[in-house]
Amino acid sequence: MSERYLLRSTAIAARVMGGEMIIMSAKDSTLFTLNGVAMLIWQAADGRTALSEIVKNKVCAEFDVDGDTAYRDAVEFTEALAQHGILQISDGPIPEPPAPPRAAP
């Protein structure tokens, strides 16, 4: 099984409300809400930490869930988010993109 690395997109809008996260994709304006587990994965998607580590160290540490099941669910969920440009997925670490250029004078 190859590893998966995830990087949060900055081309989104997001806010936590009542323990859930609202996210809107800038790519297609799709609106999502992420529950606690999904939010944990999204927040940990730094491009450097493998999904398996996120599931083991974050999800399974905080929620009473079987590791294999959690990983399968996480793969499915992250692929759906990637389709809407909310996450980037790669089989290797993903460098963060450079900061956007400053405003024109």
């Binding site: 809008a13 800038a26 609106l31 809400t33 250029p101």
Partner: protein, 362 residues
């Protein structure tokens, strides 16, 4: 129920200000004859004050942030403010006349991830649009800007305010929007100035013309649905809220004044003197607005249109009573359905020409 409705319901339940409209300036490089603002700068918030405010809004849970004016791009720090807002992951909508947008600015807005740009276009004819904005060449510059924005893949909405001068041009502006690949919003609305001056209301279209507009499927979509008579008033309508103003949304002026809505000039606090969340949670004015239900409206609670009327509490407030009717919305309900409102039957005001209804077509 759509996800957006669910999110709105959750925000209402939690008391979260989901949407904030922030005017960055009242200065403008157009002089539209129907504008409700005074354009002098009376002490705008600095970029630092605005960034501090944005931090507070993010903390308060604001998701949708509309940046407008005046013309927001007249501020040299406008892009700096947008960049800061986007770094805080707001969903940013920009309302502009686009006169200052060229290829570089359009590219910058795209890079910053602005969700949508709304631009006022009054007519497809330069002589009409430019006569309203009082800036020669403004239509051509605005249309060029829309093309730059579309070339970047940005979502653009043309807002078409209808008044006497451009009444005949609505369909052609909608056609223009289709040709440009952008959305179109019709707004048959002229509102009093924020200082209470009602002289601009002379520009509003006549009721008979409004009836024609509401029966034009090219402008309103499904006429039968749009002009359907109201159903019976039920308990849900009596317990219902007038609108989101003060409940999940509010407006902040360039001077830091907080109001329930941009069209509801009830001063509710100032972010230069208090934290935003203190105002949002503790303002007596916002509390009063929040306390009002359909059953509390002395005239409208007995009106057949209660459940379908676009009654704007802000316009009612400008007429003298936030619990009273908004006569412009009475007029719209009548123009849509042909059924007089309770306010009309009671001989109430029916000529102010106010109104808020917006018709959004994809």
């Amino acid at each position: 129920m759509s996800l957006m409705e669910e999110i709105n319901g959750r925000a209402l339940e939690l008391g979260v200000p989901l949407s904030v409209h922030l005017d960055l300036t009242y200065r403008c490089n157009e002089r539209c004859e129907h504008c409700y603002l005074e354009h002098d700068d009376k002490g705008e918030m600095t970029a630092g004050e605005i960034k501090n405010l944005l931090d507070q809004l993010a903390e308060a849970g604001v998701f949708f942030l509309t940046l407008s004016g005046g013309e927001p791009l007249l501020r040299r720090d406008c892009f700096e403010i947008i960049e800061y807002a986007r770094a805080l992951l707001f969903n940013v909508k920009l309302k502009t006349n686009a006169l200052l947008i060229r290829e570089a600015e359009a590219q910058r807005l795209k890079v910053l991830g602005v969700e949508q740009v709304q631009i006022s276009v009054y007519s497809h004819r330069p002589e009409v649009h430019d006569a309203i904005t009082k800036i020669p060449g403004s239509l051509n510059r605005t249309l060029a800007a829309i093309r730059f924005l579309r070339a970047q893949g940005l979502k653009v909405t043309i807002a078409n305010v209808l008044m006497r001068k451009n009444l005949q041009d609505g369909e052609r502006v909608r056609g223009l929007a289709q040709d440009l690949g952008v959305s179109y919003t019709l707004d048959p609305t002229i509102t009093p100035m924020m200082n209470g001056n009602t002289s601009v209301l002379r520009l509003r279209i006549a009721t008979a013309d409004l009836q024609q507009v509401f029966r034009n499927s090219n402008l309103v979509g499904d006429v039968d649905e749009f002009c359907a008579p109201p159903g019976s008033v039920d308990e849900g309508m009596m317990e219902g809220l007038p609108c989101s103003a003060g409940h999940t949304a509010c407006y902040i002026s360039p001077y830091g004044d907080v109001y329930p809505c941009v069209q509801f000039p009830l001063p509710s606090g100032n972010v230069r003197r208090e934290k935003f969340l203190e105002i949002w949670e503790n303002s007596p004015q916002l509390s009063e607005v929040r306390s009002i239900r359909g059953k509390d409206l002395p005239t409208c609670s007995s009106c057949a249109h209660l459940g379908t009327c676009t009654r704007c509490p802000g316009l009612a407030y400008m007429e003298g009573n936030m619990r009273g009717p908004s006569s412009a919305d009475c007029e719209k309900s009548f123009a849509r359905t042909g059924i007089p409102t309770a306010n009309m039957r009671a001989g109430g005001r029916f000529s102010a020409g106010l109104g808020l209804v917006q018709i959004q077509l994809a």
